[in-house]
């Protein structure tokens, strides 16, 4: 991920993590 600008990398990381948390809350059994 070295070639991904830092701002985008941080935003992407946060987006993916939050998405995982959101989906875990919605359907804990599927994850």
């Amino acid at each position: 991920s070295g070639d991904l600008p830092l701002a985008r990398r941080n935003s992407l990381l946060r987006f993916l993590e939050r998405r995982k948390e959101r989906l875990t809350m919605v359907s804990p059994h599927s994850l």
Binding site: A7, N10, L12, R14, K20
Partner: protein, 220 residues
């Protein structure tokens, strides 16, 4: 044109950088975006900060991705395509593949199965991800126009979004958004989008002015 306003800004800046060029703080940017959306009365789907890169004042002003906060929408059933249609299935496969690659790019590992990635990737999630790849040069697009004119732009209604001269606004409408707002601040432009129809409110403008005046310490 944007170029002349950039030159004027440059002149102001060189007079006394400490007073006129506000201190921009990347660390608290995410917190400010989150405070703006989570504290709003209206239901916003996301907030993005487009950061101005006026490094060399003779070069064109570029707005690029600064940070973003995706909150999501309440009604998930607003899909363009029916879930059983071949087009929907193909589109979802494509989006999940991209998400898997992004996951590997970020985590630096080849993620075999990650159930979160295999869940449906909604239209507004996809639009938020696409936004990370965009930038606006010299007053182009709604963010660029807001920055250049130093005045907010509030587009409410699918017809207005669809008829906009800005490709990003038309794209947003295609992904189910009904409202798009661009509010200029000292170092860039705050953009908010919603799947709901939200009428213009000065309350939100004031919040942006306070939250994104980076000389303000956020405090407790």
């Amino acid at each position: 044109s944007c170029a002349s306003s950039v030159t004027a800004t440059a002149a102001a800046v060189t007079v006394d950088a400490s007073k006129t060029m506000p201190f921009f703080n990347q660390e608290t940017l995410q917190q400010r975006l989150q405070t703006l959306i989570d504290g709003a009365r209206e239901t916003w789907t996301y907030a993005i900060f487009w950061q101005s890169s006026d490094l060399d004042f003779s070069s064109p002003s570029v707005l690029g991705w600064g940070d973003g906060y995706y909150k999501g929408e309440e009604d998930k059933n607003k899909r363009k395509l029916s879930v059983s249609s071949p087009a929907y299935i193909a589109e979802q496969e494509h989006r999940k593949k991209v998400l898997r690659e992004l996951n590997s790019l970020i985590s630096g590992t080849q993620t075999g199965t990650d159930d979160a990635v295999d869940e449906e990737v909604t239209d507004t999630e996809w639009f938020f991800l696409i936004s990370m790849t965009q930038s606006f040069v010299n007053g182009n697009g709604l963010p660029g126009q807001a920055m250049c004119s130093s005045s907010p732009i509030w587009v409410a209604g699918v017809e207005k979004l669809a008829a906009s001269h800005c490709e990003r606004a038309r794209q947003a409408q295609g992904f189910g958004l009904q409202t798009m707002v661009c509010i200029p601040s000292a170092n860039g432009v705050v953009e908010l989008g919603s799947t709901e129809l939200i009428i213009q409110s000065s309350d939100l403008m004031n919040k942006v002015r306070v939250l994104f005046n980076f000389n303000n310490d956020l405090g407790p």
